[in-house]
Symmetry: C2
Subunit: 224 residues, 2 copies
DNA sequence: GTCTATAACGGGATAGAC
DNA sequence: GTCTATCCCGTTATAGAC
């Protein structure tokens, strides 16, 4: 075991950082087995580092996981930003429609792998972990990773919904987030239990229909 | 591996003191500290029973917690059923409005205590635990506790929304559930971090407005 | 500063005596 | 049915090597 770690260390001297290797291994294992099934013993064994290395570099298991979560969030939000760019370009100088904005928010979450039904199902589960046991430090560390998108969405939705107050727009956006969080939490169950691939197009249509109606609701709740 | 048919048998007989005492203690401790902070060692110490008693009577810690969760669900759903009774009586022979139905579904979840901001915040967290780590046996055990309500809601919403297909009504009801799950998961955070009591009336109005619009959405997502 | 070795701790589960 | 005695595991803390 000792010769293995030495070889790996010398072979990749430039980036043989224990810290980045740990993150890499953690990400891979989480993506494979899910955060709930990954112990730091698994990670350190696989990475060929000592058990205590995680505590030294990250402070705790949760903060290592938060690091991995941040990467996923960044990946998702980059795609969302790109879709917003396209939507804005397509709308010319005008404001993109509520539907276009929702699609940019929702669609990146529905991407599928061949083996994994939903690529980001494990990301949703990691998010849930933090929701279940809120940690102020981690939340603070995560905030920058989704704030830019949130600000932009708030601005764009407010422009698309001039008749809805900004406070309400923000609150309603929170409900869309809630729906998507729940959706992804069960994406793998729906897929694995039913033994069929998810119908992305259909799900997107349903989600956009429900959420756009909610975003546009009049305060008294009568939408028609 | 061990057969669990014995558990069903013991339920019929005069419930062993130990078993009911364990459930009672577990419920109380979960309501006080939250499920995440309660170990079976805490419970057995407090109940004055042996550590192994939980495994003997319930099979596992998770199944004991599921028992406590089932009680909360039953309490909530009894209130919901009563509100549906009233709504149906008020509507005479006609179908209660979407708003009245949503209110019956949502309002019971918003009840507050003096110390606890949301009486069922811990219930939501327990639900989340199971969502995070789905257990087929537990899900099967829980199903009867919310199926009657679900069936009734499906029937009533379908009657109130004749233009929406039953499959869509069910799917949309799932989104309302998602919103409420998320809402309760953060009820305590909103309350404790902001240091102010929740404004139940305002939250109810917002929730009903958003959800009723979503329930009524037209398939293409245009609601106005 | 970086990392290892090891110990201590607390948690859930279980076999087997009674 | 109940209880003791473990077992195994994941996590955390510390001391010290490099």
């Amino acid at each position: 075991m000792s010769d293995n770690t030495k070889a790996a260390a010398s072979a990749t001297a430039a980036e043989s950082d224990t810290k980045s290797r740990i993150i890499g291994v953690a990400e891979r294992m989480i993506a494979t087995k899910g955060a709930e099934q990954v112990s730091i013993r698994d990670i350190t064994r696989e990475a060929g580092v000592n058990l205590a290395a995680i505590n030294y570099h990250f402070g705790s298991k949760e903060r290592l996981f938060a690091e991995a979560l941040a990467r996923s969030i960044t990946a998702i939000n980059t795609t969302r930003m790109a879709m917003l760019d396209k939507a804005e370009a397509k709308a010319g100088g005008r404001s993109p429609s509520v539907e276009a904005l929702l699609e940019a928010f929702i669609l990146p979450l529905l991407h599928t792998d061949e083996n994994e039904c939903n690529r980001y199902a494990h990301t949703a589960k990691m998010l849930s972990r933090f929701f279940l046991n809120p940690d102020e430090e981690i939340m603070h560390m995560l905030r920058p990773h989704f704030m830019p998108l949130k600000e932009r969405l708030l601005r764009l939705f407010s422009a698309a919904l001039p008749e809805v107050g900004k406070t309400d727009v923000e609150w309603r956006l929170g409900q869309v987030f809630a729906i998507m969080h729940h959706h992804m939490l069960f994406a793998d169950l729906r897929c694995k239990d039913l033994g069929k691939k998810l119908n992305v197009k259909k799900e997107l249509r349903r989600l956009v229909a429900f959420c756009s109606a909610g975003m546009r609701a009049t305060p008294d709740g009568e939408a028609h």
